[in-house]
């Protein structure tokens, strides 16, 4: 009965209700028989038996419920115990094959670690919500120029604020530098002048104290400041400060409040705020565009509706101020604040994420291949398990458990790797990526790693597991046949070939991306920025409004500093400029060329203004292509002159000689008419925003003829000095020269022009470097995967090769045979990879922000990548092929 009992095990197979019925029926039957034997009639016996059992209906219900619970519990326990068996079995297997386990775990760890690290960066920079109230409602609002969001003028801001009701406030901000000289050591602090509603619009509130009231946002009442948490901690050690006075630009400001640390959105954001306090005159100025404007949409208002209202304001402003203003044809645009805040880094990081995900996929394919190879080695063991009753699902589960255990161990290693990589990325990345410094492997990233581990282990485990289980089930011949399970062998080879194809295709996609960026970097190296960056020293300094209120005094100071710099030993040319290439600052003005209709927007050219001394051009080695540079003739009282760059010349006077032509800009004459300036020279284009960005229209004015209002546009200037020697050595003589003119002014942002130029490329270069590294990793993984597969295939064909050699095949023909076999999946993978790469570059067109100067389907890149991969694949196949050809035929034949 013991044997029989075995077959009837697992009572839950019967169904709980049937089980209960049958059991109770049996019980009643036995009791009845007992009582009959004791002398009762059958009916009486039956009644007595039923009485002793009690209420049968209740009992049945109770037992059915208990039985169901019992079955669930037992199934779970069985599942867990099988799982645990699988895990311990796996651990023993790995212990016995440490080489296999180490390679698989390292491969996966590389992929998981990489994806986790990039995810951490992506989360910190892009995905993490801004610490502001309802950040989705916050928009940057600007003028359209012509397609990008650009700063607004005060007049237009005032009109837009008055003319809209879709915003819970429209706030304006103007960046400003402050000399904070509260104690012995003065410090330059980046701050901003803001409207009273700025903090409310941004959706933040002070940690201590309060922010400005509208009455403090008035000229004369504006000597109040709000400071950031960072500045408070760094400079004041967190000591009580509200109500105290600090000295900014040599003037006392009362501290009203301190913002929370969360409002230090990045390490580079402004550290203190003062009221912007527009004067009535400023409120009427429509042609000085320097305000960053932010709007908080009212609840339920769509950006479209807000835009419609802004368009109406734009139309009205354009009409009302058409007669007196250059800035005709005003247009607005809006952009979610988050988008403006994150900028191109969103695209760059998503691209990196995609690349690193491809690396993870290649790693998965490699591990799948390893698992498959192990599966063949274990065919006997699995066949035995099947023979003793393990179902197919049970086998698949056990094999999957193995890959999941692999994945989890790899995730552990990957997380350690991710810690290191995040540190590396934060340390070596260019400094201007917002919030990157906040990237860390946090619980969310750990969750991501766990997800990546499980997903990738199932991905790499499922195909081999299904295949192995089916094979073993298909015929238990492996148990008899020894080494080679012939059934499904061909199919398995197809799976292997498929893995090679996938690997090659993925690696091609990855390398194409890396190749495009590398080609772009090379193209950028060749771009002429329009100046010679070698040997040029640059630095900035700020003239405080309070001490330099008089334009004459200011112009005189700048002239003197320029001349002093010029006379320093080793300096060949020096200039003071309002704006330098690759620097921050600089504003645009609307220019109307002579002969154009000043009221028609299409004739209105937004151009970057640069106010310079005469030696700017020799200092930068930017050529004057036509005409002359500024001289002493260009006096304050003389004829107004300007120099324009090539781009502006082509835009303003296409096909004509611009010299002697007139352009109106920047100010109005006393009677309200256009202030004409004569073009005296045409300068070569300078790529001011980096080599990748074509030159904007730019124009130059001499310091002696700065429009009266312009002194409000900038307070910070560049000193530019060219030397034959080492430019960095100019710092201390320049500091001394500046101190002799005004000891209170400090040089900051000291960098050579070379540094500025490479700084403008730093992010792109960093991205290129990362992608090239990922491409390299992908290539190595793909090569090792191909090598593994081909080695396996060769080992399977040892006998066949032996026979061929015995029949007179040459080494060359054997190598050729193996190479042809591997070349098929490789070339298929290359073809698929190229298609995928073209599709991916199309799809990712918007993310490929760093591709410059090459087509996104650059034939050279694609051809090089394909050739590289095929070459690598051939080498990876040739090594085992050579080995195959070295086989001694007799040994090979004797093997069976």
């Amino acid at each position: 009965m013991g044997i029989l009992g075995r077959f009837y095990r697992k009572p839950w197979k019967v169904g709980v209700d049937a089980e209960v019925d049958e059991e109770l029926a049996f019980h009643l039957e036995m009791r009845t028989r007992e009582f009959v034997a004791n002398g009762l009639s059958h009916d009486a016996a039956r009644r007595e038996a039923e009485r002793r059992l009690g209420n049968q209906r209740t009992l049945r219900t109770t037992l059915a419920a208990m039985g169901a619970r019992r079955d669930r519990h037992l199934q779970r326990t069985q599942y867990m115990s099988e799982f645990w068996q699988d895990v311990t079995f796996t651990a023993r297997q790995f212990w016995k094959n440490p080489g296999f386990a180490a390679i698989a775990i390292l491969t996966l760890a590389l992929g998981i670690g990489g994806t986790t690290a990039i995810f951490s960066a992506l989360y910190a920079v892009v995905l993490r919500p801004l610490p502001l109230r309802e950040p989705d409602r916050l928009f940057a609002v600007g003028e359209t120029n012509p397609a990008v969001l650009s700063p607004m003028s005060v007049g237009i801001y005032v009109d837009a604020e008055a003319g809209t009701d879709v915003f819970d406030g429209l706030a304006a901000l103007q960046y400003a530098n402050y000399n904070l000289a509260d104690s012995a050591t003065p410090e330059r602090v980046i701050g901003a002048k803001v409207t009273a509603n700025y903090f409310d619009v941004m959706g933040t509130a002070p940690l201590v104290g309060r922010v400005f009231t509208p009455s403090e946002d008035q000229p004369g009442a504006d000597r109040v400041a709000v400071i950031s948490n960072r500045l408070w901690q760094r400079r004041f050690g967190g000591a009580p400060l509200v109500g105290r006075e600090i000295r900014l630009n040599a003037t006392g400001y009362t501290v009203l409040g301190i913002m929370p640390a969360s409002f230090d959105l990045t390490n580079g954001t402004e550290e203190l705020w003062t009221p912007i306090a527009f004067t009535p005159e400023r409120r009427r100025m429509h042609d000085e565009h320097y305000l960053s404007v932010y709007g908080r949409l009212k609840h339920g208002v769509t950006p479209q509706r807000a835009m419609a209202q802004l368009d109406a304001v734009a139309a009205r402003v354009s009409r009302d101020f058409a007669s007196e203003l250059v800035a005709t044809g005003v247009k607005f645009s809006m952009m979610p604040f988050h988008q403006q805040f994150v900028g191109d880094y969103r695209a760059r990081l998503f691209l990196l994420m995609a690349a690193v995900a491809v690396v993870l996929l290649i790693a998965c394919v490699n591990v799948a291949n390893l698992l498959l190879a192990r599966g063949s080695a274990r065919a006997r063991e699995i066949a035995i398990r099947t023979a003793i009753g393990a179902g197919r699902w049970r086998i698949v589960r056990q094999l999957l458990t193995e890959s999941v255990v692999l994945g989890i161990v790899a995730a552990g290693a990957g997380v350690l790797l991710a810690y290191a990589m995040v540190r590396g990325v934060v340390a070596w990345s260019p400094p201007d990526i917002p919030r990157l410094e906040q990237a860390r492997v946090d619980p969310l990233a750990l969750g991501f790693a766990a997800f990546a581990a499980i997903a990738s282990s199932i991905l790499c485990g499922i195909a081999p597991a299904l295949r192995i289980a089916r094979e073993v089930q298909g015929g238990l011949n492996a148990i008899h046949g020894g080494r080679r399970g012939t059934t499904g062998g061909g199919r398995r080879d197809r799976l292997r070939a498929g893995l090679i194809t996938a690997e090659v295709a993925l690696a091609i996609v990855l390398l194409t991306g890396a190749g495009l960026l590398i080609r772009s970097a090379i193209a950028l190296q060749r771009v002429d920025p329009g100046f010679d960056p070698v040997g040029v020293f640059t630095a900035r300094f700020t003239l405080p409004e309070q001490t330099y209120a008089d334009p004459v005094r200011e112009a005189e100071m700048l002239r003197r500093f320029g001349e002093a710099a010029q006379q320093l030993p080793g300096v060949t040319a020096a200039a003071v400029s309002s704006y330098a290439a690759m620097g921050s600052g600089g504003g645009t003005n609307g220019l109307i060329p002579e002969g154009a209709d000043g009221h028609d927007r299409s004739h209105f050219i937004q151009s970057i203004l640069r106010v310079t001394t005469a030696d700017f051009f020799p200092a930068m080695r930017t050529p004057i292509l036509k005409g002359r540079t500024f001289t002493d003739v260009d006096r304050a009282t003389g004829q107004r002159v300007m120099i324009i760059n090539q781009t502006l010349a082509a835009r303003a006077f296409p096909g004509q000689d611009p010299l002697g032509k007139r352009i109106a800009c920047c100010e109005a004459t006393a009677d309200g008419g256009p202030a004409w300036k004569i073009v005296i020279g045409v300068a070569g284009d300078i790529r001011s925003r980096g080599p990748a960005v074509p030159a904007d229209p730019e124009f130059y004015l001499p310091w002696t003829q700065v429009p009266k209002d312009a002194w409000n546009w900038f307070r910070t200037f560049y000193i530019i000095a060219r030397t034959d020697g080492e430019p960095a050595r100019l710092l201390s003589p320049l500091r001394q020269a500046l101190a002799r003119i005004d000891p209170d002014i400090a040089l900051f942002d000291v960098r050579t022009m070379d540094q500025r130029l490479s700084g403008s490329l730093a992010t792109a270069r960093f991205n290129t470097l990362l992608l090239a590294m990922l491409g390299g990793i992908g290539l190595v993984l793909a090569a090792s995967g191909i090598y593994g597969v081909v080695s396996y295939l060769v080992s399977q064909r040892t006998q066949e090769i032996g026979v061929r050699m015995a029949l007179g095949a040459t080494t060359t023909s054997v190598v050729g045979l193996i190479l042809r076999q591997s070349l098929k999946p490789v070339s298929l993978g290359a073809a698929l990879g190229l298609l995928a790469a073209v599709a991916a570059t199309r799809l990712l067109a918007a993310q490929l922000v760093d591709v410059y100067g090459v087509s996104r389907t650059d034939p050279l890149t694609i051809a090089l990548v394909a050739a590289t991969l095929i070459a690598v694949a051939l080498v990876a196949s040739a090594v085992p092929a050579k080995r195959a050809a070295a086989i001694d035929p007799t040994t090979a034949l004797a093997a069976e």
Binding site: G5, Y8, P11, E19, E22, F26, H27, L63, M66, H73
Partner: protein
């Protein structure tokens, strides 16, 4: 005599320790070995069996009964034997204590 709380489980385990039995056989064995001093409340026997099964102290299987038809048999598991030993020891302590109490004078 009524069974003390929890004693039924111990008795079931004790009975099954001798070998596998079906539900009726367990009831009968308990009655026989206690000379019917202990009458099994049959309404609580089967719930106790299901509970013990869930606790994995006993396990069930289908077998052929003395009537020649299919019946559900229970057998004790290693874990059940451990529980039985523990419960037996506990019972011995309890009954010894009780005996001492009842035999003291006064």
């Amino acid at each position: 005599m009524d069974l003390l709380h929890g004693t039924l489980d111990t008795l079931i385990l004790k009975t099954l320790a001798a070998g596998r039995r079906h539900g009726y056989g367990i009831a009968k064995a308990i009655e026989d070995s206690t000379e019917a001093v202990v009458a099994i409340e049959e309404g609580s026997l089967y719930p106790a069996l299901y509970r013990l099964e869930r606790k994995e102290l006993i396990e069930a299987e289908w077998g052929i009964s003395e009537l020649g038809r299919r019946a559900k048999f229970y057998r004790i598991t290693p874990r059940g034997r451990k529980a039985l030993a523990a419960q037996t020891a506990e019972w011995a302590r309890f009954s010894a204590a009780l005996s001492r109490l009842l035999q003291t004078d006064g």
